[in-house]
């Protein structure tokens, strides 16, 4: 990220949102809202005095609520740029009519700007790579049987990740949320949501087997006499050295139980995890101090908005759809729009990086030529026949049709009239306009009305 931010050809627009995407491959026009940071990043040196002095404490979302942050803050230590923003919702200056201003006072660089406004910028782009990431599945109600949300010591994998992180709120010490004690018995439940039609997620989230193996290993490594139990359905380790890593966890003492957990309930100050070990076909109950759910990966909460903005299709689970699952895995159906990472489907970091590289190279390939070859199957308007009713404009899913003015003459009188014109760069050749055109003035190259009628005739023989 740091490297990216320092690259001369990369402009990083943080704290920004895309509001509108117009245009087409090579000529995208994107409206971007740069949200008011309340800190002038040109002036800010990132010295950190402001957030040290800020009197207001807010729950730290990044640490899954395990710690607190200030109203002026950097979201996470590695964030780029390493410069703070003011969380206006929680800032005293904003909530108490300017009665605070501590950060402004302490800032040597005079970078605090409470009056900063959102900036909306229009930028031209040649291609778009969508990498909007994922969210984790589940809220308090999603795993009632596991007590998630009611039992404080049932946590998600991400939560555990913060606990075990050396730069995390506990400095890497694994403690359980309820009492801060070190858990001695930790149960991991894989496929929490994933591969579970009952939860509406039929797919495999792909990363859980590996991070659970890592977490289990960390438990064994960091806590003396600790026991790690893993309930799993199948272990999937398709990656270089993945299987070996999983083996290591097992060899180092992680107990893998093949089966599903049916219930978790508290009993005498600890939790009982009841499940089935299908290998021995017996019900098992494990007393656990901490339970970690490997919850399913789901598309970002605003993925559908992004899809609508950019014009990408989504699959039944809400992940963005690629142009072809095998042959065009990083392209979308919209020319010039590419996908990278988990917005397309669950994947781990190496795969995401690989895909991002692939998308970047696709863009380089796109940009390497001055002219672009398009699929020849596009719609074409016969201007002489088009009556300009505009029905095709309202129907085109790619907004590839517009009115143009052409000169015409009737009974010797010349005048201008509006007819439809297809932007071949945008047209994806679906032919919806052709079917809707009453006068038959639009035809689809390669699938003309005549050709299809002839085909109908031929197959009816």
């Amino acid at each position: 990220m740091v490297a990216a931010s320092q690259h001369p050809n990369i402009t990083l627009m943080t704290y920004s949102e895309v509001e509108e995407v117009k245009g087409y491959v090579g000529n995208f026009n994107v409206k971007i809202r740069q949200k008011a940071k309340s800190v002038d990043h040109e002036l800010c040196t990132g010295c950190g005095v402001c957030w040290e002095k800020c009197p207001n404490m807010v729950i730290n979302e990044y640490d899954q609520g395990l710690s607190a942050r200030k109203s002026i803050y950097i979201r996470f230590p590695q964030a780029v740029p390493s410069k703070p923003v003011i969380d206006r919702q929680h800032c005293r200056w904003f909530n108490r009519d300017g009665r605070c201003g501590v950060c402004s006072e302490v800032c040597q660089a005079k970078a605090i700007d409470y009056l900063q406004q959102d900036q909306v910028v229009d930028e031209e782009f040649g291609a778009i790579i969508v990498a909007t990431g994922f969210d984790l599945f589940g809220n308090e109600n999603s795993f009632a049987e596991y007590g998630y949300g009611t039992l404080p010591d049932v946590i998600s994998g991400l939560h555990f990740e913060r606990l075990s992180s050396a730069s995390g709120p506990t400095g890497g010490k694994i403690i359980r949320p309820s009492d801060g004690k070190e858990p001695k018995s930790v149960v991991f439940i894989q496929c929490a949501g994933s591969r579970d039609d009952a939860k509406g997620k039929s797919y495999c989230s792909r990363v859980c087997c590996m991070y659970t193996a890592k977490h289990a290993h960390q438990v064994l490594e960091k806590i003396d006499d600790a026991q790690a139990y893993v309930f799993y359905m199948d272990i999937r380790t398709p990656g270089k050295a993945y299987e070996e890593f999983y083996r290591r966890s097992v060899n180092d003492g992680a107990v893998y139980l093949r089966g599903r957990v049916s219930r978790i309930f508290s009993k005498n100050n600890s939790m009982i995890v009841r499940g089935e070990d299908t290998l021995i076909s017996k019900q098992v109950e494990i007393e656990a101090d901490l339970v970690v759910l490997a919850t399913a990966m789901v598309p970002g909460f605003d993925a559908n908005i992004v899809a609508g903005l950019v014009g990408i299709g989504s699959d039944k689970d809400g992940f963005f759809e690629e142009a072809h699952p095998k042959l065009r895995p990083v392209e979308t159906h919209t020319a010039g729009v590419y996908l990278a990472g988990t917005c397309q489907g669950p994947r781990d970091i190496p795969d995401s990086v690989a895909q991002a590289g692939s998308a970047a190279v696709k863009v380089c390939g796109l940009f390497s030529a001055d002219e672009r070859e398009l699929d020849p199957i596009t719609a074409l308007v016969d201007e002489a026949i088009c009556s300009g009713c505009g029905i095709c404009l309202s129907l085109c899913p790619y907004k590839a049709i517009d009115f143009i003015s052409v000169s015409a003459s009737m009974a010797g009188v010349s005048f201008q009239r509006e007819v439809a014109a297809v932007n071949e760069a945008l047209c994806q050749g679906c032919g919806t306009c052709v079917a809707a055109c009453r006068s038959g003035s639009i035809n689809l190259k390669g699938f003309t009305n005549e050709q299809l009628l002839a085909e109908v005739e031929a197959v009816c023989q």
Binding site: G431, L444, V456, C460
Partner: protein
């Protein structure tokens, strides 16, 4: 049901003529997959590939019936 029709049906040889307009990306690929997986389906279907089921013009459907199709399917 007319006598004639019964006669036609009695003749085992009659197979319905089904014209299927298949979306290139969906049903056509589905049909392709069915073929790939060696899934058997009725031989009476005649597939016309269209770039999208939106391409299917009502005129095509009428024409198909006119030209002797026994059923028309649009699959997207």
């Amino acid at each position: 049901m007319s006598v004639e029709m019964n006669a036609v049906r009695a003749a085992e040889s009659w197979e319905p003529k089904i014209i299927a307009f298949c979306c290139n990306w969906c049903a056509y690929a589905g049909a392709d997959l069915a073929g790939l997986n060696r899934i058997q389906y009725a031989p009476s279907v005649r597939i016309i590939r269209v770039p999208c089921s939106g391409r299917v013009n009502p005129q095509f459907i009428l024409k198909a019936f006119q030209k002797g199709a026994d059923a028309v399917m649009v699959a997207g």
